[in-house]
Symmetry: none
Subunit: 410 residues, 2 copies
């Protein structure tokens, strides 16, 4: 079963809105084992919408058309689908009544063109709207089907979950379950991972039920995604567990989390489990590490706070760093101790480095010195050489320093 997606709207092509709908639909389809092999954005132009739907129906069993169901002159999805079906549009009295009632309940005058949303291609079935004013459509074309849903994400999601996915499953006769598991890694390149996992990939190539893919996610690391298909949820889980185990045997040292984990949630959970609190001293990252940690709800039971010691004399005066160069492992160690003491935490983590554009203290752009002071007073320091320009270097500093802390807490 294959279901492609056509997202309609000139604003999507102009970059005024990012099309998140088709990604979301693709995710829902994948979860129930339906392939979505091509997803298209097309503008508010009837001929091009018609052509896009026809093209998709040639290759796919079904197509979801998102958007273009509103009341204005550039909402053309209904007309385009009627053309593809070779039928005309007719006013659906029930929908018209719902739309009129909705405006009445909001005590708002209904502009006349809103009734355009009650027009339905002859032969189409209506997906009742529960949240907005535009109903959806199920439009049979021979043995295939076109679904139309509004572009407003919460209206679209409601119809896809409530009606379209069940309808597609019923049509597919598919009974298999498909699920994915993502292993989050930090510390090797995509090609390095590939090389280490090559024997396993070769083995997977001969296994029809499970696939492995790498998703390079920039300064979030590389994701290794396993996707498995089987008759039951249990059988899928067994496949995923077994292949996850195999992957971890090869690259387990750099796997820091699974699925929804990220580096900051993992580090916070490790600290919480050990009953430890954390204080930071940030220079080169200027608050980014703190900002990322506090994005996790509940960080407050672990994270005490931070000193962003951007000016050198703040390092000396507030954190008691000795006079001298401030981009060094020695300075990082004193920063970590200073933050730990000032903010009353069990663990201190400090970052100092050079984000550019110019060198500092004789250290080139990309230099990052990290220090961790543990509860027993043990001090660990490390110097990283990071690539990239200012923003990339700083973001890489965030994850590199948290990964170092993770290693020390393991």
């Amino acid at each position: 079963m294959r279901c492609d997606v056509v997202a309609v709207g000139t604003e999507l092509l102009l970059g005024q809105i990012v099309d998140t709908n088709s990604s979301w639909i693709g995710e829902q389809l994948a979860t129930v084992g339906i392939n979505s092999l091509l997803q298209i954005k097309v503008g508010d132009n009837k001929d091009r919408i018609v052509a896009a739907i026809r093209d998709r129906l040639q290759e796919a069993d079904a197509v979801v058309v998102c958007g273009g169901l509103g009341p204005t002159h550039d909402d053309l999805t209904r007309e385009a689908i009627a053309t593809v079906m070779g039928v005309s549009l007719e006013l659906d009295d029930d929908i018209a009544a719902v739309i009129e009632a909705m405006f009445a309940s909001r005590k708002r005058r209904m502009p006349a063109n809103n009734l355009k949303q009650a027009e339905v291609p002859v032969g189409a079935q209506v997906i009742a709207q529960t949240r907005g004013t535009a109903p959806g459509l199920i439009c049979p074309v021979g043995t295939k089907v076109i679904y139309a849903v509004p572009g407003v994400p919460h209206e679209m999601r409601d119809m896809v979950e409530r009606v379209i996915i069940p309808d597609l499953i019923a049509r597919s006769g598919e009974t298999a379950v498909i699920a994915s598991r993502v292993l989050r890694t930090w510390g090797d390149s995509e090609s390095g991972l590939n090389e280490r996992l090559q024997p396993l990939i070769n083995e997977l190539d001969r296994s029809p039920n499970t696939t492995l893919a790498f998703l390079a996610s920039g300064w979030e690391g590389i994701k290794v995604r396993l996707t498995a298909k089987a008759e039951t949820k249990d059988a899928v889980d067994t496949l995923l567990n077994s292949w996850e185990q195999r992957v971890r045997e090869v690259v387990g040292d750099i796997v820091f989390g699974v699925d929804g984990d990220n580096m900051e949630s993992v580090v916070l959970a490790m600290l919480r489990k050990r009953g430890l609190t954390l204080a930071l001293a940030e220079s080169v990252t200027g608050g980014l590490v703190s900002g990322r940690l506090t994005q996790i709800a509940g960080a407050s039971d672990v994270f005490r706070g931070a000193v962003v010691s951007y000016a050198s004399d703040v390092k000396h005066d507030v954190l008691h760093v000795s006079p001298g160069p401030v981009v060094s492992e020695a300075a990082a160690a004193q920063m970590a101790q200073g933050a730990k003491d000032l903010l009353g935490a069990d663990v201190g983590l400090a970052l100092t480095g050079v984000a550019g554009p110019d060198q500092q203290d004789g250290q080139p752009v990309g230099t990052l010195c990290v220090a961790v002071v543990l509860p027993d007073g043990q001090v660990h320091t490390k110097t990283f050489v990071l690539p990239g320009q200012r923003e990339q270097m700083r973001q890489m500093s965030v994850i590199s320093s948290l990964d170092m802390l993770r290693g020390l807490l393991a």
Copy 2:
């Protein structure tokens, strides 16, 4: 001139990554008057990539292919383009040398398959990589052209701006000059701005040389983009200057910057001009304001640093906030004074609030209290009620607090 976009990657279809690249490219193309009428997402499957590129080339003059240039077995863009061109791939020694040097400079072992990135379709021209390891490609096909760029956004953006847009303009034969100017606003809704500017928009509708568009940019505010077309750069600038003046006459109070400005660069420039330094105390934002300010190169001559006082007793002990509730304008004022004193700055800015998921100190989620202490000791405080969940509330807090400081420095 029409340039369509093909985004390559199974992860895009599965919804694991949202394709923001094609939107961004669409925006850049629109700015210089090039149409992008269809944008496609296709998975890591060579036949389908080939078919997608061929289809686009039938309708468009050019196609940008994003992604699939990495070193792994599921990076197939190079092979697909070679097939469309009807040529083979050959190793480019210069690219190979750059890739090897990049790994050497990072002191990391280069996996052998990385050299796959040095393979180039015969007849293609290389777009040198300045930031990553995958070079881009310019591939002529008859009178048309395929561009290939990496899927990593910052690498893609660099190549599109530096090479592809100028190349497309040269190919288009367009001799008119097209340029845009973006006015950055904060503090009104899109519909509010639209209403205020309606008379001006009506006037522009009768002027063939200049257009106005609103770009809603979430927690970055609303952008008002003027685009003008004329025979010479001077004539375009005259048009843009004149219409910018007209827009500012209507909504100048909420325009905080132009083009590449953002709220943090504007605030830093205002402080620098007045010879003032800044210290922050952040609670709810946990370092995000500092992180944003220090993203601007040269922030160090203005920005002293910050105390991220996430735990309540850090507010009391380090910043000398009086005992009692910490989400209040009074607490914010003491935080600002405490940071100003501790970090030795001229101006103190503090944020305390509730990002959720739970209320705090009897204040609902979305409450933000901001305080500014000016060099003469004057204290200004304000409470904002912000929408959204945790991340949105925190990001809105960043720009709201900086906009308040901007108003006080004006």
